[in-house]
């Protein structure tokens, strides 16, 4: 990918979207890269739409403003597709990674994605429920982003998930999230 990759995340409060952006930034530190991860702060409420951003660059990141032209758009909650235009400002070769059980072609249509833009689906909520019993789709979404962008190796990402979740959760939950990340990586579908 390019010298600098800009990612915009769309999720709802309580889904772990901000944590996903943080884990990705940390995992991308390798190789002397510069990283940023920051949410858009508003009235933080569970279930309210939110955005978070990542920049990953081989050069020093001096820009301190929201990402307007993302090369990667991660949609952690597909119900947002009905309410907001997640494709706004996306680059002409942008990659959309959407948490959905639907057919990728249907999502492509809904996004109005162009031929050059890629649309990737991962059923992250189902994977999360199967792996650790809760509808928290952030770790399988991270796995999917890792697979599609190649920004970081799966092993490095898993190590970071282990580190980040290890501060807060029991071994069972950590293992579940590691499995969910791995499955998110493996179960992406393109349409």
């Amino acid at each position: 990918m390019a010298d600098m990759v800009e990612i915009r995340w769309h999720g709802r409060g309580g889904q772990g979207t901000v944590t996903a952006a943080k884990v990705l930034a940390d995992a991308c530190l390798s190789g002397g890269r510069y990283v940023q991860a920051f949410p858009e702060y508003g009235p933080e409420r569970s279930g309210a739409p939110l955005r978070a951003y990542n920049r990953i660059s081989s050069k020093e990141l001096r820009m301190h403003c929201p990402v307007l032209h993302p090369q990667v758009v991660g949609v952690v909650d597909a119900t947002l597709l009905d309410g907001i235009n997640v494709a706004e400002g996306a680059t002409e070769d942008a990659i959309f990674i959407v948490n959905s059980s639907k057919d990728p072609k249907e999502i492509r249509e809904k996004l109005g994605a162009t031929q050059k833009q890629r649309v990737i689906i991962v059923d992250a909520t189902k994977i999360a429920i199967e792996c650790f019993g809760r509808a928290l789709p952030n770790s399988p979404m991270l796995g999917a982003v890792c697979k599609v962008t190649g920004l970081v190796s799966l092993d490095a990402l898993l190590e970071d998930v282990r580190k980040s979740f290890g501060k807060k959760f029991s071994q069972k939950i950590i293992d579940g999230n590691l499995e969910a990340t791995r499955r998110g990586y493996e179960e992406v579908r393109e349409g």
């Binding site: 930034a25 530190l29 990283v35 920051f38 702060y41 001096r62 820009m63 301190h64 403003c65 929201p66």
Partner: protein
């Protein structure tokens, strides 16, 4: 050996405070500073520092506790934002007038009313005349580095003044960025052992703090406060030179970015300066001689040095993320004074931006630089003070 991490500005500054291991910390929560003191309180409860933490009932009490502890003979810290700094106002002057070397990170946030928790510089600009030294930080790395250097500046035996380290609320305090940490023992050695001066707790040698001083001596006292301030910049540079040896990172009184032959220039503080530097590069690529000055030491203000750095500029825009209603922005007033001192008379315009966390985007910097370019070529000046990124 530096350790590279991805952390928030608050986390980085809390870590700097842990590495310095102060004697006393007074803590009171206020967004967006809260998680800095929360992290530091965890260091205390986990035994990572020897600091005595005082959980006070307001910021007025926080600064009062700091004043008492510093006069007692301790190395003292606290942190605040916005309304918290405003509530400290009375005590800020006492801390500085009493010459107590307290270090206080200020996570810059807008002031009420209306209530707003987001970043702007109204809080610290309001404390401009309190007698505190102010260091400003573009990003988490600078906030971390400035915090470490602040102890050496504040505690210098020829200075003994409190220092504020300013960083942008949310944009810096809550964003994760790559930064380099120094080793614990490197920071410990750099900060050095705290040297007491007239400690109240030295009960064998009693002394008085805060006496009444009437018209016969008050003015001499205040002039002395100004005189010590005039000596500060030299020590700020000495400390920066030592810090560069340790870290490889260079600091001055301000950052000059592509200013040497600049015909047009921006003056801009903190995080927005980073965004603007990228835009300066774009204009340089197009052959337009743009440059940028980012103040670091705002009090005492280095007038002569700033004027000299801006001497080639024909048109300058001073960008303020704070306002003086019915007047110009606070940074504009400083730059106008500086340019009068050295007799150069560039065209100086003022833009107010980013109040209450309004995003400062590259487009805003592009617009301002384009306007300066027109002015430098003899174009008309639209208005001297203007709000940008605002709905009409």
């Amino acid at each position: 050996m530096a350790k590279i991490v991805a952390v928030t500005g608050n986390e980085a500054v809390a870590n700097a405070l842990r590495q310095v291991n102060p004697d006393v910390c007074a803590a009171y929560p206020i967004t967006p500073q809260t998680d800095m003191m929360q992290r530091f309180a965890s260091f205390v409860s986990d035994g990572k520092v020897d600091t005595e933490i005082i959980l006070v009932e307001s910021e007025h009490s926080a600064m009062s506790a700091c004043i008492g502890a510093a006069a007692g003979g301790g190395r003292v810290v606290t942190a605040t934002s916005s309304q918290g700094l405003a509530l400290m106002w009375e005590m800020l002057f006492i801390a500085a007038g009493t010459r107590l070397p307290i270090v206080m990170p200020v996570v810059n946030r807008a002031l009420s009313s209306p209530l707003n928790i987001h970043g702007d510089h109204s809080d610290a600009m309001g404390a401009r005349d309190s007698g505190w030294i102010q260091l400003w930080s573009e990003n988490a790395q600078e906030a971390y580095d400035n915090t470490i250097q602040a102890f050496r500046i504040a505690e210098h035996m020829d200075i003994r003044l409190p220092v504020m380290v300013c960083l942008d609320g949310f944009i810096t305090s809550h964003s994760i960025e790559r930064i380099e940490y120094l080793e614990d023992d490197e920071v410990k050695n750099f900060a050095g052992e705290y040297q007491q001066l007239y400690p109240l707790l030295d009960v064998d040698n009693p002394k008085s703090y805060g006496p009444l001083i009437l018209p016969d001596l008050y003015m001499e006292y205040k002039r002395a406060q100004h005189e010590v301030m005039t000596r500060v910049s030299k020590f700020v540079l000495d400390v920066a030179a030592d810090f560069e040896k340790l870290s490889g990172r260079k600091y001055g009184l301000f950052e000059s970015y592509r200013l040497d032959d600049a015909e047009i220039a921006l003056v801009i503080l903190n995080s927005a300066a980073g965004t603007a530097k990228d835009v300066v590069d774009e204009f340089r690529d197009k052959g337009i001689k743009a440059g940028l000055l980012k103040p670091r030491l705002f009090r005492p203000f280095p007038y002569e040095e700033v004027a000299s750095a801006l001497k080639s500029a024909k048109a300058i825009c001073v960008m303020d993320r704070a306002d003086s209603f019915g007047g110009f922005g606070p940074m504009y007033m400083e730059i106008a004074s500086a340019m009068m001192l050295n007799g150069s008379r560039p065209i100086l315009i003022n833009k107010i931006y980013g109040l209450g966390g309004r995003d400062f985007m590259p487009e805003h910097a592009q617009m301002v630089i384009s306007e300066l370019d027109e002015i430098a070529k003899g174009g008309k000046i639209k208005t001297f003070k203007e709000y940008i990124g605002v709905r009409e």
